[in-house]
């Protein structure tokens, strides 16, 4: 585990892991944005359906 970081296999593994993290963050953010949008529609819809006097 304490081998030099120049090791090619370690660098490849690090790049692959970073790629996976980036995809996971991207998908998570996209899902969050979509969820916020849909929740906004639901909450707005409920308020429009029951307007305050």
């Amino acid at each position: 585990m304490n081998q030099p970081v120049d090791d090619k296999a370690a660098r490849d593994a690090a790049a692959k892991a970073r790629n996976g993290r980036n995809i996971a963050i991207g998908l998570g953010l996209a899902a969050f944005v979509v969820l916020v949008f849909i929740v906004t529609l639901v909450r707005l819809g409920a308020n429009v359906a029951q307007p305050h006097p």
Binding site: M1, A17, I23, I38, V42
Partner: protein, 340 residues
């Protein structure tokens, strides 16, 4: 015990991974920080609270509430893994966690915990209601600060008081559905709260040596196995009437009553067997991470079988109780209200 004391060089196993040699972390390592098994339990109990309220809830908002409860639980798990990395490193059961294994830096775990805590509480507040969000915030702070940073290293009653954090999700679910938390919501909390001590102490009776090595003041380490067996029986005697009480208050129906009564009787028998056994008097050297749920007869196990039986059944009992509540709510089975 202070956190500093737990990190003395003598107390760190020489074969433990060093945290200064960070490997390339995968996204799965960050997910592991959130304790997915705990999250699944929280999703189940939170969903049960949400549906047992029997209030009209928009399906999407209900799903958002459960998601926020799960993320909040995961966030507090990440904070726990950050703070407890020193003692996790010393126990077989926790040595492979991302921080002590050197896969994720402690600061990253802390950052993930804080960000997800804020995100889950704020989103629950804006999307559902602020009472539920407040309860979720209290749960996260209670687990990450009161339990992890204070109780766990200080008192043998750590899991009794700290168990409140794990018990609150049904009340959060109920609050998400209705905007308030009446007696029935707190009865569900009480069931998990009083279930936690016999459940964890049964486990600790046969992994005592690990807790002792890490300096965590679990009850068997501080007070001894005999006192632990007595406390298990006392808490079990308190637990079962509480499990039966939902049929008096209009929460549980006939299916729940059957599950609570029959399962409660078995629970008490198993707790009595632990009390009458010598579980915890001698360490069982065969216990490994994979053997936690295995029940095996061995003359040298010193009653470990009784403790393992109670530990395994306690999981089944809690699951059955909440599954009965959930099933009755979904199927529209009328609740009993024997007090009326």
């Amino acid at each position: 015990m202070s956190k500093t004391a737990a990190m003395t060089p003598d107390s760190i196993s020489p074969d433990a991974p060093r945290s200064d040699a960070i490997q390339a972390a995968r996204w799965q390592d960050y997910f592991q920080l959130m304790k997915p098994r705990v999250m699944s339990l929280v999703v189940f109990t939170g969903l049960t609270g949400l549906l047992a309220a029997r209030a009209p809830v928009h399906p999407l908002l209900g799903a958002v509430a459960v998601l926020c409860i799960a993320i909040g639980a995961g966030a507090s798990g990440a904070l726990n893994m950050w703070y407890d990395a020193d003692i996790d490193r010393q126990m077989r059961r926790t040595r492979g966690r991302p921080v002590p294994a050197g896969k994720v830096k402690g600061e990253e775990a802390a950052t993930l915990g804080v960000v997800l805590s804020l995100l889950s509480v704020m989103f629950l507040g804006f999307a559902v209601n602020w009472f539920a969000a407040g309860l979720l915030a209290f749960t996260i702070v209670f687990y990450a600060v009161v339990y992890t940073m204070w109780l766990k290293r200080w008192t043998a009653q750590n899991i009794v008081i700290g168990g409140l954090a794990g018990a609150l999700p049904p009340a959060i679910g109920w609050a998400a559905a209705t905007g308030h938390a009446p007696l029935n919501a707190w009865l569900m909390v009480a069931i998990i709260f009083f279930w936690t001590p016999p459940h964890f102490w049964a486990l600790s009776l046969y992994v005592t040596t690990d807790y002792a090595k890490a300096g965590v003041p679990m009850l068997p380490v501080v007070k001894g196995a005999k006192e632990t067996r007595k406390q298990i029986l006392i808490y079990s005697l308190i637990l079962i009437p509480i499990c039966l009480s939902p049929v008096l208050t209009g929460l549980g129906g006939p299916i729940y009553l059957a599950v609570a009564a029959l399962g409660g009787a078995v629970f008490l028998v198993l707790a009595w067997r632990v009390f009458a056994s010598k579980a915890g008097d001698a360490a069982d050297p065969r216990v490994t991470d994979r053997a936690l749920y295995e029940v095996d007869e061995d003359k040298h196990a010193a009653g470990a079988k009784a403790a393992r039986n109670l530990f395994a059944f306690s999981i089944l009992y809690l699951f059955a109780l909440f599954a009965a509540l959930l099933g009755e709510a979904v199927a529209g089975v009328p609740a009993l209200e024997l007090l009326k």
